[in-house]
Amino acid sequence: MTSPTILFAGIDEPGLNTIDVYRSRGGYEMARRALTEMTPEAVLDELLASGLRGRGGAGFPSGKKISFIPKANVDKYLVCNADESEPGTFKDRELMQKCPHMLIEGIIIGAYAAGASRSFIYIRGEYAEQADIIDAALLEAEQAGLLGENILGSGFSLSLVLHRGAGAYICGEETGLLDSLEGKRGNPRLKPPFPANQGLYQGPTVINNVETLATMPHILRMGGEEYAKIGTESSAGTKLVSVSGNVQRPGNYEIELGVPSREIIYDLAGGPPDGREVKFWFPGGSSSPVLTKDDLDIPYDFDSLAKAKSMLGSGAIIVVDDSVPVVSVALKLAKFYKHESCGKCTPCREGTRWTVSMLERVDQGLATPMDLDIMASVQEQIIGNCLCVLGDAMAMPIGSMVAKFREEFEAHIEAARARNPFAGDDPPDVDPVLIQGAAGA
């Protein structure tokens, strides 16, 4: 385990959330260098050379995202997405709590490269402690002249406002976040136009995850090309991975992209409790299709996981051991997405609801194996048919669970029916005509 530590190096240092300690470690040096010695184009070139890909879920190259911002002389915005709600993800929380200035420095650098004059941190409302820490850090940075008008005499001005959300998973989706930041319900928008052209207040907007922005000072410090040497060719750098579920040492680990997944789950997180085996695991938050214990040797990077028909997502590994029935996990997951669906697009709103109903039937022994086919077809009809990927985020893992654990689903139905022998005689509380219609579809 010789993987380099960049973001988490010395993260537990006492007082790191204050500007003095952060500066004593060389903090804000890179913001100073960028603003006073480099042009925005030069900063952007370093980011492009680093090969940094977004750490929030989609994995889009961050430099390219900034380069899409038009050069026109209009108000531009940078929004930091700190609405970390993906089940299993808690890396940004630790970063913001322990080293908020790293994020602020990254925002200054990112905004300078994008030419943004106003920036916002959208933090989820549940992170009250972290929001207070950032508020205090913002005050310090303003007093030190690192935010506001004419920063460090460079002529560059930037305002930074911390915006607290109020509890909605959908606000982690970038356009839902923008609507929420504009004071509306957090409904995603139709794309295009993409936020780079028409985002916050209809202005060009770049939206980045906390971890992405916090990496930017380190890229400038190391140099883009040097940073690109870490990790694999297409997935450069290190990644914070949140490991949770049935493991002995859950927590955040910084890994070099491309290490075998087994190393993360077993060597770092200690693997499942003694006597248990990995049954399946989510490689990138609960939205990623599940992988089984046969996939543990897949290198942990964007492309290898995509090739295995899953995704790296937000880098949250949830390990489920062999004592847990797959149906209970699927039901939990589907209920979550049903609750969080904003209701704007029909396939997601209805698809999540019916998936929960069907999984409840499976759990209660009211289902037949045919229901599993219907369930799989519902998932297929959600994917790609909505404005945002919330529906897909349910459809992909549920679809993969049904495909990979179909025998267990069928056995679960049989066992539940045996426990409840009258279940089959009593029609479920669903209109019989509707069931016929669905079967014919």
Binding site: F8, D12, E13, G26, P87, Q97, S286
Partner: protein, 304 residues
């Protein structure tokens, strides 16, 4: 008004007339797909109880909170809508932060909720009066977000994470136990919540904004006692005391030498405590300004 809306959404027990109507409806569809033999009496449709909403339909929809005869609420008149000065100041401060004042909607509602305990009609009307928006707009926003309460709730907001990672570690049992222990206490609002982003301390709960975990079932009575008294919840188990699990956290980087980073000590103490006193972030805490950063530091707490 808002309070009633949510309650009415829960399916009411069907009364006799409604149950009969339901049987008719089902009978109709059954007859359509049953082959009826000539000369035999029509089969009696099985009696099925259909769950109905208060307004008689099987789908939620219009309910009696919507008064179609009434004019839509206009922007409240400042002359007839008194707003407490601290609330007005706070909302106006939020509005000044953004290029478009609409952005202050969520902070304003959160502030109103802190003052009133929940987003009561009074709270909504006051926020609408200060922001010069219609109450309807604010209600549409308040009903979207989980942390904005559209019903009266207890002062202490206790969110128990019941998502995948936590439930793998026993969160459902924890939630049931907490719910049981606080069932008779109207002051405590225990809610099962979606992933709170603290799966490393599963099973966990957010007590008035303070994350604690992992919570064992034995600790529940003690925790409930602390919640009731308004004391810091399980001081030794709060998230902010937790060290990083990453073995690299004590190491220096591979990049260019950064002398400062090497100074990091492995056995670091409590990272300078966020100087946040124990208080609700959004829930109806004690009336007053929000727990702000300039409040005196919390009393020292026992370390793990």
């Amino acid at each position: 008004m808002i309070g009633r809306k949510k309650r009415n959404r829960a399916p009411d027990a069907p009364d006799q007339a409604e149950a009969a109507a339901g049987a008719d409806a089902v009978g109709g569809t059954t007859a359509a797909i049953t082959v009826q033999r000539r000369g035999q009496p029509a089969p009696v449709a099985p009696q099925r109880e259909v769950t109905r909403f208060g307004h008689g339909s099987r789908v939620p929809g219009w309910d009696d909170a919507v008064d179609l005869d009434r004019d839509p609420a206009q922007i409240p008149d400042p002359a007839t809508t008194p707003v407490p000065a601290p609330l007005r100041t706070e909302i106006e401060a939020h509005m000044a932060k953004y290029p478009d004042f609409h952005s202050a909607t969520i902070p304003a509602l959160a502030a109103a909720q802190r003052h009133h305990g929940w987003c009561s009609p009074e709270a909504i009307w006051q926020a609408a009066c200060v922001m010069r928006l219609t109450p309807g707009y604010l209600i549409s926003v308040a009903s979207f977000y989980d942390m904005l309460e559209t019903r009266p709730v207890g002062r202490h907001a206790v969110y128990v994470c019941t998502n995948i990672s936590c439930s793998l570690c026993g969160a459902d049992e924890l939630y049931d136990r907490l719910k049981q222990e606080t069932a008779a206490d109207p002051d405590v609002n225990v809610r099962g919540f979606e992933c709170l982003g603290a799966c490393d301390i599963a099973p966990m709960a957010s007590v008035d904004g303070v994350y604690v975990g992992p919570i064992t079932l034995d600790e529940v009575p003690k925790l409930v006692e602390q919640i009731r008294e308004g004391l810091p919840p399980l001081p030794g188990k709060q998230l902010r005391l937790r060290k990083s699990t990453d073995p690299g956290a004590a190491r220096t980087t591979t990049g260019t030498a950064d002398p400062g980073i090497a100074r990091a000590t492995a056995g670091a103490a409590d990272p300078v405590s966020p100087t946040r006193t124990h208080g609700t972030p959004m829930g109806g805490g004690p009336v007053g300004p929000p727990a702000a950063i300039e409040q005196p530091p919390a009393p020292p707490e026992e370390d793990e």
